[in-house]
Subunit: 350 residues, 4 copies
């Protein structure tokens, strides 16, 4: 009785991560793999340069990849809903095509900032799923589009959510982001060996705008963005997985460091209360070691679904500063999509 | 008629960089190399694991290393002044011993924050050298101690100095620092491969305190620190040389981005006016490319003595944000010491 | 009814890997952790800078580390046998001290080439365990010492064993070895960033001598080394785990490439027949992809216990050439020791 | 009176290296920069993503890039000869088009193995330039094509040439090659971080076939390849520049290690005798340190034109083994082309 799911963009790195994480999933089963014309008609194992470090699941090896369009996907198998791991540049119209018939849970950036499209982090703003009925009414679709935020945004927003009770006013964030965030082939090795690239196209705007929407309030028909000023500076470092972010937060109240730690440690959301299969026990883990979190040692915490926070200190200009780390292709991408879909199941949306 | 100089800590990485940079120096000549007991008595080429990428200068290969104490250094050759590249943990009493007789230009942290010790960046606070006469009076020394700031501080302070005319009020800085900043053997490879280490012992305090002193004002007898609030978060990345810093500055005035660029581009100091041999033509270079500065491509600008600035943007919380990059073992260490000594020559102090 | 084991050198990287791999082991349970005087008396979590990427097992966190000597280990708990993860330079006399009373399964190099000490790879030369009765007689010990080979040797010897039926005559091997092989702190990051270090002290001799002993024949009282000429050139590359070796083998017979592949694929040993808990299903995995094995993608095959072989080609000078890869701290170190101990259990030696 | 040269493929990494190395060249001056249609019509500084670590020479910044065809290059400026830095896949017909009128000194692989095309290393086989008159006669061209070998071949062949007097019979070589050998964007960072890629398309065949041609003998009309068996295994490591090769050579004679070192140290060729501007004083540098050559520390020896050899040892299977290192984009690419052209000037061919 598992729900059957099609993966759009199945041969890319996010698509591969979806396939890896869906192995043995208790609720979802992959029924169709869709990719570009170049891959269509081939067996998945021939179409895909598999870049995960675990072997390709046998169940998908011999599945035939189909073209990413509604007609071919429908013919290829039974589909209850769709994960979109499409590149942001092409996702827009394709996702709209699929949403006419299917729920689309999208990792792509194309629709994130649309006023009737939810931008969901299950622990942070599950109520924003109410936008779906607005969207369906607006668009006249049988399906819908729900989106997951940008990888660097998700981990930041989770930590900010835990601080909202102290009154978050403004946020400065300086990132050290992993290579896998740029996809494959992504960053040329000659650009990053013995180097840092202090620019990621569109990333700073995404962090600034998406965070305000995620932390915003649903007022019946739309989201009122949170009144928080955010300033991001984004940098690529020579790390495979795991975005590290130095965060400085200005708060209305002046909690002690211990109160901030408690807020992080005690933070849970609906996924934890509903015991969703992919939900980490602790969305935020606080490290006490002076030199943590570190990407290689902390990115797999909570099977890659926990955000790890450390070095929480008073800040003489803002209020508090800390570091946060998340696995950018699990909590920041495929894991985020799966957790969102699990939440939608419980909400009766899938 | 060159001045003859002894190098204390000659076998360490900063000592090696002094030796490399002093090759062919028009004013200074190495007369004595001093290091720990383990090295004393050996030829330099046998005592030293040379880690520079240019070959060891022939002139030092066969020099006999002596113990780092005043008596042995005096016996070993004629000495006009001393460069100290000693580890901060042992530099304190040794430098005081030498200062009884010699001017000591020190890269070590031991004396930097002493009230009668100048902490010099030649382009920024050359007038602080006036502390030397205070110090000599206080201590009754024939020589003196003058110090150079911490590597990550120097490049930050140079850029802030250029902005002082707009009224610098507060500064948030998030660093991505190179491996060579930790010396040799320094950071184990297993700590940094596929990783970032978000902590460098003592570094944040140094950046915060030293910057205020450097940008402070000399009032006859002492330095009044600048009334600037600084918040640093320091992180080690997998880069050989070149510290990259994301800087957010709050200013009293609201200059345009173009005015900020102009301030950076037009910034010069005494080293440029005096045409000191090691002075870069431009202390600050402004890059217009969207993804610069980058450590590997920009650290050698101005022979490693220029600070390279880029991505200058308005900041919605502070006033302006930008990235700055400096070569941490040239402008941030040995080059800093040599430029300071050159300035002292012109000031009649050496 | 698990056998209780003491780990000597428990705070080093091999010791840590033993602890990680013994978590949940069906036959063995850690009863004592021993390390140097500096660690003795501390809780393990305080004595040890944990460098594994999985969290420290809770069972050891609060165990008190004892000094590495027989008396203190005996007092600390019940011990059935001992894993030695001691540095080769100090292991010699300590292991002899323990062997008076306990079986010692050692990863250290100190005793490997002794004529009455077995040098075991369970799939390759389990019969060499017969040396133990010779050794006990010689030495008058209640316990004994059995050793595991050097990490780069193990994976090579496993592949050669599979080829012995074709008559291995001589072997040229050129390695690209991982950083973890040098322990912690091990290789300084400044030595290996953007670099290769083409020398590893003692490694080439170990590969040449140990391989001949392992592939040798037990004649009642001693091992006659295999009559194979081996030439190794060992190089350190910027990889965390996983030694890659380019191997060129001269054979008496001239098997086809397909026959060589079959020999690799079909190779099994006693651990597989006995279904030892740590035995990989396939000791050798043959990859058909043109660009494999690769350290990051293949080192975890068979939970790090399989050797992965690829690019098997005819060689115009020798007979056949191929690449082989093994996880140097699992199959090449702690996993090797555990598998050896499992074999000894089945042989009635533990 | 400098010769004027057009560079084909001027925006690629080899083209950039040509531009960098030709700065201030005493005999050659760049008159035309040609690249693909995408770049044609743009200023060089706009067409090119400059990847060198020295700044782009001012002289080329504003030159207008032209299309890589004979007509447009001719119109663009005076041309005495042509450097081809074209990709091997497209170089074939384009170079033939230019050779009708101009001498073409090519770094591309397209024509290397043609029987009437010289494959030149100036120190090794300058007499092979005699093929040019054969070629001109065959083809009826006013110009000609002369080629430089593959980067990994050049450094190997130089060391083998020095050993030819001992009778080189067979050669096994295992490479650890730098990222820049794959051009730009080249190797994705996600392929090489914490990894080795043990395959480089076509590289092993090039090393085996080109070396035999280079070391072969010119018999009036053609080259008789050297009767040497070569077996290469090629691997990509995480190094920016500098190919390191582990070499095992079987020799007819059995020279001592000291005699081999002498042969390397004393090796010079026509470039040294003719004092060509780009010729290194010593084509081969022998390092005595146990752990050299290393890419980062030795690739710039002789301004990147020397091959650095170390760890010369007897080999129990072949005769001698050693490591050799060369800068793959200087001695292995652009520097090779320039040195060849300098030789041709002296031979009256340009």
């Amino acid at each position: 009785m598992k729900r059957e799911v099609a993966i759009l963009g199945a041969t890319g790195t996010v698509g591969q991560r979806f396939i890896e994480l869906l192995q043995g999933h208790p609720w979802f089963e992959i029924s169709v793999l869709a990719a570009s014309e170049r891959s269509a008609g081939k067996k998945y194992k021939e179409a895909c340069k598999w870049r995960m470090e675990t072997p390709m699941p046998e169940a998908v090896e011999d599945m035939t990849v189909v073209n990413t369009n509604l007609k071919e996907v429908k013919q290829a198998g039974n589909v209850d809903f769709v994960f979109s791991a499409l590149p942001g540049s092409i996702a827009g119209p394709i996702e709209e095509e699929f949403a006419v018939e299917y729920p689309v849970v999208s990792k792509a950036s194309a629709h994130r900032m649309k006023s009737d499209v939810p931008l969901i982090i299950p622990e942070v703003n599950p109520d924003h799923l109410q936008l779906i009925s607005v969207q369906k009414k607006n668009r006249g679709w049988n399906g819908f589009i729900s989106t997951d935020p940008n990888c660097s945004t998700i981990q930041l927003a989770i930590t900010l959510k835990a601080l909202m009770k102290f009154g978050v006013e403004n946020v400065i964030v300086s990132t050290m982001q992993a290579l896998s965030g740029a996809g494959y082939p992504g960053v040329p090795s000659l650009d990053i060996i013995d180097n840092v690239v202090p620019y990621i196209s569109g990333e700073e705007e995404k962090m600034e705008n998406e965070t305000r929407k995620i932390l915003g309030t649903f007022y019946g028909e739309e989201i009122q963005p949170a009144n928080i000023t955010i300033s991001a500076s984004c940098h690529r470092v020579n790390v495979k997985d795991g975005h590290l972010e130095a965060v400085y937060v200005g708060l209305e109240q002046k909690p002690t460091i211990e109160e901030v730690k408690e807020a992080f440690r005690n933070f849970v959301g609906e996924p934890q209360r509903l015991k969703l299969p992919t939900a980490p026990e602790r969305p935020i883990i606080v490290k006490e070691e002076i030199d943590r979190p570190q990407p290689r040692f902390d990115r797999d915490a909570g099977k890659g679904m926990s955000v790890v926070v450390g070095r929480i200190r008073e800040d003489p200009i803002m209020t508090v500063k800390y570091l946060c780390l998340g696995h950018n292709t699990i909590r920041g991408a495929a894991g985020a999509g799966i957790l969102s879909a699990e939440l939608m199941v419980k909400k009766g949306l899938l």
